[in-house]
Amino acid sequence: MTETVSTQSTVKEITRALKHKPGALLPILHDIQHALGYIPADSIPVIASELQLSRAEVHGVISFYHYFRETPPGKQTIHLCRAESCQAMGSKKLEEHVKAKLSIDYHETTPDGKFSLEPVYCLGMCSCSPSMQIGNDVYGRVSNESFDSVIDEREALS
């Protein structure tokens, strides 16, 4: 209950701070996801009422963009590149390894809540494919072995 209340007040605070910007909805959604990790369903009526939009419009925008999520992510989200340059450097094999190592598929979270896995279509690091991103940290020329050591290191941290 307390958690819901504080979530709601965060949503309200962010929305009110940004709603006067032209085209405010994306900046608002970004700030909410940045603060909470996702965009909770009960934030939709708040945003809709503040921006004078319908709830359907707000939901429509959230669901259109791959980056916005409506469920809580794991503590760390791994964005693994699936695009052509990475494919040319063996990303499909890496992808199999990653899924096996974490025992999850794309858009899933490990049962212990530590890692979520999301596909991404190009990280702009095509000069060191295959690549991935975890938070603001970027990794190039990722091999099965280097992936394992990154995960082991991060697991110890989380």
Partner: protein
């Protein structure tokens, strides 16, 4: 004496450990009581050497790379701070042919300077274009851009000057400048390198665009996948405001230009200009019908310039040195230089800025030195996920918009992704349809439905089912996508699909005779 050491802060270098290397060099220098100044520069674009550490010496900047953490103490032992000999030494950076032979106009500063230092920017010819622009009329600025022959570097290659002229001549109390920084094409990273490696050049280019057409508000629509570019841009924008290069009174001229970065949210389609504007307005990124052109009715219904990062970042040098200077590079109707990006399975991946006209073969073998795997290069995809796959027989095509159009291919944003002979082109064609289905905005039927049906048909072909029916069906479907889609996503997905089918029919399990059916 303080020695200046450069370790790149470009995310391509960070992805290979540059952050750790910078910290380790700093620590080791302190331990040894040596006085160094550590500068986090942009990348030179020679990624096989990253992390590339440079040391300022009396002989110029000497490079060492690729440096790993285990090499640090050995580098100090070899007196690398005085340019000492070491196994990783690559000599003076300026003498490396890959770098030396380039014609860097847009990338002139990248790798040389501290990207977020305004002093560095000014010391290396920054804001000279703006100074000239402030003394000109809007029409004169536009004339310089038109004279330069610059065409949109995002991929569509529309003449920039003509677009600007339309906005200039459309009266409105409010106009906008949008920088399309939604660089989603696989194999491209030149926008990212500019934003991380020289953010002020983009800010200057957008400011000049604002002065030219009378726009007072600019937006950089940046993809969320680029957090390092986001940070660099915001830092540089704050410094530009503080120094009077942005705001209500630019350098005392009484002219106003405000600039803000807005983040995308992982939708490839928002790189399409009308979808991008919908997104900036806070909506789903659905593609708009054209006309009206954005130059007449764009963001919030106002006249709007939408240009790619490289187009806008090329403007300052055009205004500094004049349209003719820029125009003297290039061939035919492709004027100036193009920052080419060598990616995928290539030995020397990186950024090569050259005048238009070099052949693919020269780029792949003289610059790129062949595949990274050492196997023969089977195909290259030029121009991102909507670009055609080219076989070896087309490698003598010069990089030129018209020469590529003549072989049913596109230069696009200048990204080249290399594949060796282990690639299955039918699988790449299937992936193109899958990508289109994932990223389609859903507004037009050919793209929304056609991409899903397309993937199904290619799966059937891969499984060897009814080729005599399914190959013509795929061609027919591609024809519908090509001619019936609202924008380039549906309209160009046939490029990779059909080029794969036409050039590599054997990968689809068919003879060349059947593929022509």
């Amino acid at each position: 004496m303080t020695v200046t050491v450069y370790v790149p802060n470009d995310s391509g270098a960070l992805a290979l450990g540059a952050g750790r290397i910078a910290a380790a060099i700093d620590k080791e220098a302190q331990k040894r009581g040596l006085d160094i100044k550590l500068v986090r520069n942009g990348s030179r674009g020679m990624f096989w050497l990253e992390p590339l550490v440079e040391v300022e010496t009396s002989e110029g900047r000497i490079g060492y790379g690729p440096v790993q953490s285990k090499d640090i103490s050995g580098l100090f032992d070899a007196d690398f701070l005085n340019g000492g000999t070491h196994a990783l030494e690559v000599g003076p950076i300026d003498e490396i042919p890959y770098f030396k032979n380039q014609q860097r106009l847009t990338f002139a500063r990248i790798g040389l300077t501290d990207p977020i230092s305004l002093d560095d920017y000014l010391a290396y010819d920054g804001y000279r274009g703006l100074k000239n622009a402030l003394a000109m009329s809007g029409a004169d600025i536009v004339r310089h851009v038109t004279d330069s022959g610059l065409r949109g570097r995002g991929g569509a290659a529309f003449p920039t000057g003509i677009k600007w002229n339309t906005v200039l001549n459309t009266p409105s109390e409010q106009k906008y400048i949008i920088c399309n920084a939604d660089e989603g094409d696989s194999g491209t990273f030149s926008d990212r390198m500019v934003m991380e490696g020289d953010p002020f050049v983009l800010i200057e280019g957008m400011t000049i665009a604002g002065l030219a057409v009378g726009a007072t508000q600019g937006y950089i629509y940046l993809r969320v996948e680029y957090p390092h570019a986001h940070r660099a841009l915001n830092t540089a924008i704050a410094k530009a405001y503080a120094a009077g290069y942005l705001g209500d009174n630019i350098q005392g001229s009484g002219k106003k230009f405000d600039l803000e970065v807005r983040l995308g949210a992982g939708a490839y389609i928002c790189g399409e200009e009308t979808s991008l504007m919908e997104s900036l307005e806070g909506k789903r990124g659905l593609v708009r019908f054209k006309p009206p052109l954005p130059a007449i009715s764009g963001l919030f219904g106002k006249p709007t310039i939408v240009n790619n990062v490289i187009s806008l970042a090329s403007v300052p040098i055009i205004l500094d040195k004049g349209g003719e200077y820029y125009r003297d590079f290039g061939m035919g109707r492709s004027r100036g230089t193009l920052p080419i990006q060598l990616a995928g399975n290539i030995k020397y991946p990186g950024l090569v800025e050259l005048a238009f006209g070099l052949t693919l073969r020269e780029l792949l073998y003289e610059y790129g030195r062949g595949s990274a795997s050492g196997r023969p290069i089977k195909a290259v995809q030029v121009g991102g996920p909507l670009g055609a796959y080219l076989p070896e027989s087309q490698f003598d095509t010069p990089l030129d918009y018209e020469a590529f159009a003549a072989i049913w291919a596109v230069v696009g944003h200048g990204g080249i992704v290399v594949f060796d002979d282990t690639v299955d082109m039918a699988e790449m064609a299937r992936y193109s349809m899958e990508f289109c289905a994932i990223e389609s905005c859903g507004k037009c039927t050919p793209c929304r439905i056609g991409s899903t049906r397309g993937e199904e048909v290619i799966k059937d072909i891969i499984a060897g089912r009814d080729l005599h029916k399914n190959i013509p069906l795929l061609r027919d479907l591609c024809d519908t996508l090509l001619n019936g889609s609202l924008c380039a996503l549906g309209g160009m997905t046939p490029y990779p699909v059909l080029s794969a089918l036409n050039h590599f029919p054997e990968d689809f399990g068919i003879t060349e005779q059947a593929s022509a059916a």
